[in-house]
């Protein structure tokens, strides 16, 4: 029998705590596959966020540090400066990265810190039960925007990749969506490119993944994937915003 979907070596053989249909699991697998293919597992140090992925260190088979809420890029900076020949990546949600940790991510990118950030934009605070995130869509209902996000009071959603693309230190920036197989393949390519950017010492790399939170969106997994495609993609355009070669590819 041909094995079609083998567990990547960089992932532990254990079930995750993620809700059914949540894209955190897919993203873990994509990162692990890239680590396998590049043969860098033993040289990689991950940094886990505060958010649903706080337990990422339980699932990856590599050294890990757990960081305070939003501080993963600073922690990763400390690690990378001590271990410049290792691969260092952060795995962060949108509350973690785009709200409480805005300063840390902007300055890591500004310094061209040679690390990779995997950024999970699910337009909500998953772990704490579905509060409004800075990335929450206009009109989207959450426990703290019960009438829908109103731009007059809560502003408009942050486009992280666009914001970071103004910084010279950002070597590779891409936004991908996890709503169908074709896009998932593209997502993996982007993650690979981000790690390659780090390998070549080109500077800061980040991949934003438009993700789902079926539980707090109050949808089934398929509805959630459709919602990413029809509501998030138009506001958060997919593509490469910065590449080490220069120029974008949107």
């Amino acid at each position: 029998m041909k094995v079609v979907a083998k567990r990547p070596e960089s992932l532990m053989d254990k079930p995750t705590h993620y809700c059914p249909g949540c894209t955190h699991g897919i993203t873990h697998r994509l990162v692990a596959e890239v680590m396998d293919e590049m043969g860098i597992r033993e040289k990689t140090v991950g940094v886990a966020p505060v958010g649903c992925a706080v337990l990422a260190y339980e699932y990856f088979d590599c050294d890990f540090q757990q960081a305070a809420h939003g501080r993963a890029p600073a922690v990763a900076t400390g690690i990378k400066r001590v271990l410049p020949d290792n691969f260092v990546f952060t795995y962060q949600g949108d509350g973690d990265l785009a709200s409480i940790g805005t300063a840390e991510i902007v300055h890591a990118a500004m310094r061209g810190e040679n690390i990779t950030t995997i950024f999970i934009n699910n337009a909500i605070y998953g772990m704490t039960g579905g509060q409004m995130a800075p990335t929450t869509m206009i009109g989207q209902k959450t426990t703290t925007s019960p009438y829908g996000r109103d731009s007059k009071s809560a502003g408009n959603p942050i486009r992280v990749v666009e914001m970071l693309s103004t910084l010279e230190g950002s070597a590779y920036l891409a936004r991908v969506g996890l709503f169908n197989n074709k896009e998932i393949k593209k997502a993996k390519k982007a993650i690979r490119k981000a790690f390659e950017t780090q390998k070549e010492g080109k500077g800061f790399s980040l991949v934003e993944l438009l993700s789902t939170c079926p539980t707090n969106w109050g949808m089934n997994p398929n509805e959630a994937l459709d919602w990413v495609k029809s509501n998030m993609v138009p506001y958060y355009p997919l593509g490469e915003y910065r590449t080490p070669e220069g120029g974008d590819n949107k």
Binding site: Y57, F64, A68, R71, V75, R81, N86
Partner: protein
Amino acid sequence: MTDKILMKGNEAIAEAAIKAGCRFFFGYPITPQNELPAYMARRLPMEDGVFLQAESEVAAINMVYGAAGAGARVMTSSSSPGISLKQEGISYMAGSELPGVIVNIIRGGPGLGGIQPAQSDYLQATKGGGHGDYRLLVLAPQSVQEAVDLTTEAFELADKYRNPVMILGDGMIGQMMEPVEFGEEISPEDLPKKEWATVGNKDRKPNIINSLSLQAEKLEELNIRLQKKYEKMKEEEVRVETYKTEDADYAIVAFGSMARIALSAIERAREEGVKIGLIRPISLFPYPDQVVGKVAEQVKFMLTVEMSCGQMVEDVRLAANGRCPVYFYGRSGGVVPTSQEIYEKIMELVRGEKE
């Protein structure tokens, strides 16, 4: 190297850190400690080290967390408002059992306060500061030489206990110039390997640096382990100096530069026939309560002198435990009690006690 060189406290602490094998420094500018990062920015590149000016004290302490977790000797320095911002990271370091040295050159508070010397962060430093049940080892130098020696020790203690250590100075220690002598230089390569550090998991299970425990019983286990560590510190790491307490009828308790100023008041009172001595806690955590308690049995009163509205005095009272009255004299906001003021306070209390 045994030659004495004239150095500012802030710079001497930085050089002592480098000599202790520290090659990583993360900080953010704030007066009155700016000479320390500036010195590091100049010196560390010469030692193939890294100086990084972070975007904030919050980021700086988290860089310290990452570097410590990767196995390096690492330092950050700041002054009171910046140290407040570092509390989150310090609590995480204590919870994740990471070594690291944090220098607080205290200035007057609260709020933005001023830039003059103070000791008003005593409670923050010794009682936790951040959230959770944790303690730092806190060392308080009274001279530039002692700042150097304690910095060296701080790195040893941090590694020994896998716990953050704080050097608690004040603007006077930081700015003062004195001749200093440095000890043996340690090369980072000669330091023992940290088997728990995250450096890549070749041929072993992953190393995880973490303070999260979602199970209450597991988290309690961590707390029990931490408490054991703090008990061991209390047994093994108390540092204290006494001066003329053998025959003393009275005693002053003071730390850091305050102790130096108190000393001349003590000499003057002795000239007047008042038998008074000094207890100078050097480790503020663990606190020398045995020594304070013992002297409390013998003297008629104790006078705690601080550059604050009265913080360490709470520990003196706990240690004296009713065995003698404990009085307090202090100035705050950056105003430093003079030896004249302390002398007058001593004489007033002695008179009152005789009446």
